[in-house]
């Protein structure tokens, strides 16, 4: 059970990193509007 939780947690961290990629990309659009 703990194994499953930790694997899900690790994958969630990588998902956050992928969302962070999108956020950095959107920051550029914001920067241009300024």
């Amino acid at each position: 059970m703990l194994d499953l939780l930790l694997v899900i947690g690790a994958l969630a961290c990588f998902t956050v990193a992928q969302l962070y990629v999108e956020a950095c990309d959107r920051l550029k659009a914001g920067g241009k509007r300024d």
Binding site: L2, D3, L6, A10, L11, Y20, V21, G31
Partner: protein
């Protein structure tokens, strides 16, 4: 301090400077997919790999696709290592019958090796089977270094290319970095280490009878294993995770002064070469040399301080002769190997923390307060003094962006870097990169200190020395260095999880803004240099770059350092130790 010590340090940096150009030129050819003498052997292997995995080697990626591929690869290999650790008892190549690794430790270790940190909260010879060491950990030594190489090359392409969104193909860069750069040099180095006495076998541990039994103990277990093959890439890939608990202080990992010297050369070889690659790929070789010059200045400051501090007599040992002589190394020999002495222990500590390697041949915890501060400061500067394979170069290039930005502010012009205008978006991302680092180190250290049951219960020393141990642990994890100051048992739930998060954030959440800058730079037009352009090829640029790195590091971490090693140094001279 001795002439012998100075000579070894001088010969070391001379050899690195001599090796930088051939190594850098070779890597330029490898990543530009130009012909090399290894093509007849490795070319078919590369093509076979692409055919099996379905990779289109000619399809390039933008920065988001590049980052996505890197994240997918890292996630998959992290889970593979976790699974191997958790099932090692039922898998082959486990002659000692070692148990499955506990979940929190397995996750910590999987993150550690995926992120090129190689922090080890375990005793390898009594925790990891040969299969785990070879398939779970040594493979990561190659992959994580190759990922760093690929990312650095992608960043350099972003600087060199104009009006494109493409940075290369992650899978191709990963494959070529592994096959053409890491594997051949590792094979040669492993053989050289075997010649010095590093072991390489798969048999069970030996048991030796003690000549003089001690307190009922009559035998000693002598661990064995496939050490040389792991040792070579451990140094070359700036990984640092030892096959044995005492790492490169162990006679089977690092038996002679020559093996010690080769291991140190291996740590700096690729990071030094990458500065030449930077110069060649951007069409400005002198820029590469200027970056290398700044690295050398910071390295020299570190090794001089560390060697001087370790060569000083311990002020608490009154009436003891601690001077250099034909029969003793002099200075502080606690925690150091007699076969290495003070000079090369100080040099090793400086090199391994400059370069995000993390291997140790002496115990940093036993260094003098100022001597032990040097490894920590090296990491706190952002692991950019040569730095990890690839990670050092892209970290340094973030500082370059900041340097040209500050220089631009000084003269009131839009900053330019090799023909690319540095604009708000680039600086925002560079600041994001620079702020994540202290946020993790200082934030998690503060939480550990403020929550005694979590952070202080496994600490061996009190006072400023204890704070150094905690601060060093989070510095090492976030900086993806992996060396331990020791004195702190990090194999607890709190440290396994919190250091795991620090390693993850210190790697991936810093890579993303770096790649975003690379993608943004690649899309820009190139502006011809004018009389007002700040040149990035001069000694003045190298001095300014060095100043920016030191000032950012000092402003961020000086308060914490005054409460740990600096305070300990003053108290030691007042007669109090911890």
């Amino acid at each position: 301090m001795s002439l012998n010590g100075w000579l070894q340090i001088a010969v070391f940096i001379l050899l690195i400077l001599l090796a930088a150009k051939p190594m850098g030129s070779y890597m330029t050819r490898v990543f530009a997919r130009r012909h090399t003498w290894l093509d007849p052997i490795l070319g078919p292997c590369e093509r076979l790999l692409y055919r099996v995995t379905g990779v289109n080697a000619d399809a390039e990626m933008d920065w988001r696709e590049y980052a996505g591929a890197m994240l997918i690869f890292s996630a998959a290999t992290l889970l593979l290592t976790y699974a191997i650790e958790r099932m090692q008892h039922w898998l082959p190549l486990n002659p000692q019958g070692l148990a499955n690794v506990a979940p929190d430790l397995a996750l910590n270790t999987a993150i550690s090796f995926t992120t090129n940190t190689n922090w080890q909260a375990y005793v390898p010879e009594s925790t990891m089977s040969y299969l785990t060491q070879m398939l779970g950990l040594a493979t990561h030594n190659f992959w994580s270094a190759a990922v760093g190489l690929a990312l650095a090359i992608a960043f350099v392409r972003g600087i060199a290319r104009k009006e494109t969104r493409l940075l290369g193909n992650f899978w191709v860069d990963l494959t070529r970095g592994t096959l053409w750069v890491l594997l051949p040099i590792s094979a040669v180095l492993a053989l050289a280490l075997v010649s010095q006495g590093v072991v390489q076998n798969l048999r069970g541990y030996d048991t030796a009878k003690l000549v003089e039994p001690q307190k009922g103990v009559a035998t000693q277990t002598i661990a064995q294993g496939p050490v040389a093959s792991q040792e070579a890439i451990k140094m070359l890939g700036t990984n640092g995770g030892g096959f044995f608990n005492t790492n490169s202080a162990h006679p089977f990992e690092n038996p002679t002064p020559l093996s010690n010297f080769l291991e140190m050369l291996a740590i700096f070889l690729i990071p030094a070469g990458l500065t030449v690659t930077l110069g060649q790929m951007t069409g400005s070789p002198r820029h590469g040399w200027a970056v290398l010059g700044a690295m050398c200045v910071l390295w020299l400051a570190g090794v001089l301080t560390c060697y001087w501090a370790e060569a000083q007599p311990n002020p608490l040992l009154h009436g003891v002769n601690q001077s250099v002589s034909a029969t003793q190394s002099g200075g502080n020999m606690e925690g150091k190997e007699t076969r290495f002495g003070v000079a090369t222990s100080a040099l090793f500590a400086t090199v391994t923390t400059d370069a995000s390697c993390g291997a140790v041949n002496g115990m940093h915890d036993s260094f003098t307060p100022l001597g032990g501060m040097v490894p920590m400061v090296n990491i706190l500067l952002g692991e950019v003094v040569f730095g990890g394979v690839g990670a050092g170069l892209y970290g340094m290039l973030i500082f370059v962006v900041m340097t040209v930005f500050i220089a631009g502010l000084m003269v009131g012009r839009t900053p330019e870097y090799l023909g690319k205008k540095i604009e708000a978006y680039d600086v925002q991302l560079a600041m994001l990169y620079l702020l994540i680092f202290p946020l993790m180190i200082l934030g998690l250290s503060a939480v550990s200190v403020l929550m005694p049951k979590l952070g202080l219960s496994s600490l061996a020393n009190a006072g400023p020395h204890g704070l150094t141990e905690i601060l060093y642990a989070y510095t090492s994890a976030t900086g993806n260095n992996g060396s331990a100051f020791a004195g702190l048992n990090a194999n607890t739930h709190w440290y396994n999880y919190s250091l795991g998060i620090a390693m993850f954030v210190g790697r991936f959440l810093m890579i993303v803004p770096m790649l975003a800058i690379a993608g943004n730079l690649a899309g820009k037009k190139s502006v011809p240099a004018s009389a007002g352009t700040f040149p990035v090829t001069t000694p003045l640029f190298a001095i300014l770059l060095t100043g920016v790195i030191v000032i950012v590091g000092a402003l961020t971490f000086f308060p914490a350092l005054t409460l740990s090693p600096l305070l300990e140094h003053l108290m030691l001279h007042a007669g109090k130790s911890f």
